[in-house]
Structures are given as structure tokens and as C-alpha cells.
Amino acid sequence: MKSILKYFSEIFYGVKSLLGGMRVTGSYFFRPSTIVTQKYPENRDSLVMFDRFKGEVVMPHNEKNEHKCTGCGICEINCPNGTIEIISKMVETEDGKKKKAIDKHIYRLGMCTFCGLCVKTCPSNALAFGQEFEHAVFDRSELIKVLNQPGSQLEKGVE
């Protein structure tokens, strides 16, 4: 008797759980608003990448065209594949002292693995990750970028 009861309860439990699964997929089918796929090239204007997305390494500049890079070279030393190269120059400060500053912060996007060591280890937080991801170009030389903008200076107070 007990086994007969078990047989029928198994059938009912099975049917119930199967219908539960079908209810979930059915509700997705009839509610197209639950679709998560994005139509990429069409939604380019409204596309927002998430905060921690590693698109490319950038050097943020403020509105006075000043950056925070002191030219210390830690990022260059830390970079595992030689992506970063810093060309420094000597500038004379207001009080007549000579000081090291960057001439060019060269970043080779084509070699970068986006490990993030440069951004993490920068003592003055001069580097950051940008959200741009459409990097395809027809000439490899275009992937070599100079991160500091022309004419930019070291921000006051950053040593």
C-alpha cells in the first residue's frame, strides 16, 4: 500500500515541479521586457559601461589642463610587458629649483594586458581606467598613445 502511495505521490510531485519550471520559462517568453541582450551598434549612444570596466589606461586632467603625474616611473617599472615608457625632462620651478617632470607618458595599447598594476601602484593616483572600448584601428602605430595632453602641467600640491 505504501509503495503504491509513493508511486502516485512521485507522479504528482514530478508533474508539479515540471510545471513550475515551465511557468518560469513561460513567464519569460510572454514578457519581452526581461530580455537582457543589448543590440550593440544601435545602442552606442545610450551604452554605459560599468564602473570597474577596464577599457584603456588614461591620465585624467583637470579643467586647468593639469595632471597628477610626477614622472616617478613606478608604473613603467611595474608594467609586466613594457607597455609604459616615460620620457622625463627637467623644468625650473618658480623658486629657481630644477625639478623632474614628464615630457611624454607613452602608453602602448597594443601591448597592454589590462592587468591594472600601473593604476594600482601609482603613488599620486595619476592613472585611471577609461570606459572606451572601440580600439580597432587600421595602423598599429595608432595604438601608441601619449597620455599627457600637450602643454599640460603637474597639478599644484602633488609631489
Binding site: 507522479i11 515540471l18 519550471g21 515551465m22 518560469v24 520559462t25 513561460g26 519569460y28 517568453f29 519581452p32 526581461t34 530580455i35 537582457v36 541582450t37 543590440k39
Partner: protein
């Protein structure tokens, strides 16, 4: 010559009469066979292409995706593009394969489904052959396809193909029983095996309603076991992509692969057609007893669209549970058939016989 879209008998008779005037009876038969063959081939291609598209869209929506949406509006031409690609793919010849059987297998699969589709009533008068043992014929012919699958698996000389084919054999042999018995339940209720008469008997209510609970149970069992018979998910052990690469058609490429692919979808269509003919009244509009007004409104929709609507509904259900349930293991598959479906089916057919004898049905 005006055609009545509610009764196509006059249309088919008109074709027959005008052909008879032009040629001798022997040639009339040949010409009619060619016309029917060409019509079915066209229908075949359209249905196959549409079902592949529909399946991809349905599966995508159930998985919160968009599905094909690049080729043409809403991706409608995606399957045409796929077919064009398949036609240009090289037919790789397998060195150690049994050449004759290897090339024969896809044709057997597709011929079996071709023969089955001939017996299906599409609308009043639109019926290639109306055999008086239509149900038996469809059952017999639709199970021929498994020979093609077994041949494909054997002749490929590939372990994946052979395992897939053997699984398919075990599966079809067991589930054939359930398909037959669930159809027999309806044959008991209808008292005939002729498909046109079965449809006609549902004039005052479809069998799924007039047959009480046994008809509904038979319907559910038929849907489950016919899905297994067509080797579709969740019973797609014969293909089982994750275990057997592609199962019995691992070694096939190009148009031969397309034949297997097409046959799978056409088999699903045939199975859905049989389900709609036997349980949901085929092309018969929805009639409720003696509600004259309601019945007349329903009669206004042409039978062919009723047929397509019902078949589409059943196909949707089959896609729905294909994309919901995980694949069964082979022991679970056999347990489901022999421990659950078959005993329930046997009791169900007794119950139906009792209902018919006591005249409890409507």
C-alpha cells in the same frame, strides 16, 4: 470557377476533371502524384525553414535573449542564409564508412517523414490519401525513420554515432508503445481509424473535451512520448551535444546533414499535426454543443487556419518544454516509459473503453 475555402473538395475535383479531359486516366494519376509531390516539397521547405526560425526565437525568448535579429526584419531570413550556406558546404566522404548505407540513411529518414505527411488532413478536401486505417499507417510509417538513424550511426564507423543510434533505437522502441496506446485510446472513442472520419466525429466538440479525463491523459502521454519518438529535447539522447558531439549525424556535412536537420523539424510538425487531428479536432473549428451563434462565428475562420493554429500551438508546447527541462539519462528515460507512461496508458485505455461502453462521453 470559384473556390470555396471552407471546402476544398470542389477545388481538387476541378483539378481532377480538367486533367481527365486532357489525358488518359493513367497519365492523370501520374500528373496528380507529381502535383502532390511538388506541393509537399514546397510545403516541406517552407515549414522546415520557418520552424527552425521559430525554434530559435522561442528558445531565445525563454532564455532572455533576442535570437536571430540581423538578417532581414526580426532575422526572418536567417534560416534562408543558413540553408544557402549548407548547400555550399563540402560533402566530406568518410574513408572507412560504409558508403552505400552512409548515403542512403538521410534519404530513409526524409522519405519516412514524407510518407507520414501524406496521410494528414490539412483541411476539408485537402488530403493526399485518406486511408481507412490512417492512424495505423501514420504510426507504421513514422517509425521507419529510426531505421535511417540506426543506419547513419552504424555506417559512419564512429563511436559517437553508434552510441547515439543505439540510444535512439532503444528510445524509439520503448516510446512507440506509448504513442500507439495513447492513439488507440482515441480510436476507441472515435470508433474508426480513418483520419477524415475522426475529424468529422469532432464536429460537436473536440475529443480532448468530449473524452473526459482519459482523453486528456492520453493527450499528455502522446505529447511526451511523441517528443521522445522524434528525438527532441528533453529526450535528445541520440544527439546529446554535450556527450556525443552530434550523435548519429556527427559525420554528416552539407546537404546530408541538412536532411537530418529538416527531418527532425518535419517530424515534429507531423507529430503535432497528428496530435491536433486526433485530440484537438484537426481542421474542425471549435464547436460547443448547440450554441448556434458561437459555432457560426467559429465556422467563419477557414479550416486550414484552424489546422495551422492548433498545430502551431502544439509545436509551441513541445518547444516550451524542450527549452525548460534538462536532458534525461538513459535509465531515467526507460524508467519513465516502462514504470510510468505504459501502466498509466493501459489503465487509461481501459477507462476509456468503460466510458465508451457506458456512453458517458458527450
Amino acid at each position: 470557377m470559384s473556390f470555396n475555402i471552407y471546402d476544398l473538395t470542389s477545388f481538387t475535383e476541378w483539378i481532377h476533371n480538367s486533367l481527365s479531359q486532357a489525358m488518359s486516366p493513367g497519365w492523370v494519376t501520374v500528373t496528380e502524384m507529381v502535383i502532390v509531390g511538388v506541393a509537399f516539397l514546397t510545403f516541406y521547405a517552407i515549414v522546415g525553414l520557418f520552424l527552425v526560425y521559430a525554434e530559435r526565437k522561442v528558445c531565445a525568448f525563454m532564455q532572455n535573449r533576442l535570437g536571430p535579429n540581423r538578417v532581414g526584419p526580426f532575422g526572418l531570413f536567417q534560416t534562408i542564409a543558413d540553408l544557402t550556406k549548407l548547400l555550399f558546404v563540402e560533402l566530406v566522404s568518410i574513408r572507412k564508412a560504409d558508403k552505400v548505407l552512409f548515403n542512403l540513411a538521410p534519404f530513409i529518414v526524409i522519405i519516412a517523414s514524407f510518407m507520414a505527411i501524406a496521410a494528414i488532413p490539412f483541411a476539408k478536401g485537402l488530403h493526399a490519401i485518406d486511408l481507412n486505417i490512417g492512424v495505423l499507417y501514420v504510426l507504421a510509417v513514422s517509425s521507419l525513420g529510426v531505421i535511417g538513424i540506426l543506419l547513419a550511426g552504424w555506417s559512419s564507423n564512429n563511436k559517437y554515432s553508434l552510441i547515439g543510434a543505439m540510444r535512439s533505437g532503444a528510445q524509439v522502441v520503448s516510446y512507440e508503445l506509448s504513442v500507439g496506446l495513447s492513439l488507440l485510446t482515441i480510436v476507441v472513442l472515435a470508433g474508426t481509424m480513418q483520419l477524415s472520419e475522426i475529424v468529422e466525429a469532432q464536429r460537436h466538440g473536440w475529443f480532448i473535451f468530449t473524452g473526459h479525463i482519459p482523453a486528456f491523459i492520453a493527450f499528455v502521454i502522446f505529447i511526451i512520448s511523441s517528443t521522445a519518438e522524434t528525438n527532441r529535447g528533453p529526450f535528445d539522447l541520440a544527439e546529446a551535444e554535450s556527450e556525443l558531439t552530434a550523435g548519429f549525424h556527427t559525420e554528416y556535412s552539407g546537404i546530408k546533414f541538412a536532411f537530418f536537420f529538416l527531418a527532425e523539424y518535419i517530424n515534429m510538425f507531423i507529430v503535432a499535426s497528428i496530435a491536433s487531428t486526433l485530440f484537438l479536432g484537426g481542421w474542425m473549428p471549435l464547436h460547443i454543443g448547440s450554441w448556434e451563434g458561437f459555432n457560426n462565428v467559429m465556422d467563419f475562420i477557414p479550416p486550414f487556419f484552424w489546422y495551422l493554429g492548433k498545430t502551431g500551438f502544439i509545436i509551441f508546447i513541445m518547444m516550451w518544454f524542450k527549452w525548460t527541462f534538462p536532458r534525461l539519462r538513459i535509465d531515467q528515460l526507460l524508467k519513465l516509459e516502462w514504470k510510468y507512461l505504459l501502466p498509466i496508458n493501459l489503465v487509461n485505455i481501459l477507462l476509456m473503453a468503460l466510458i465508451v461502453l457506458l456512453e458517458w462521453h458527450f
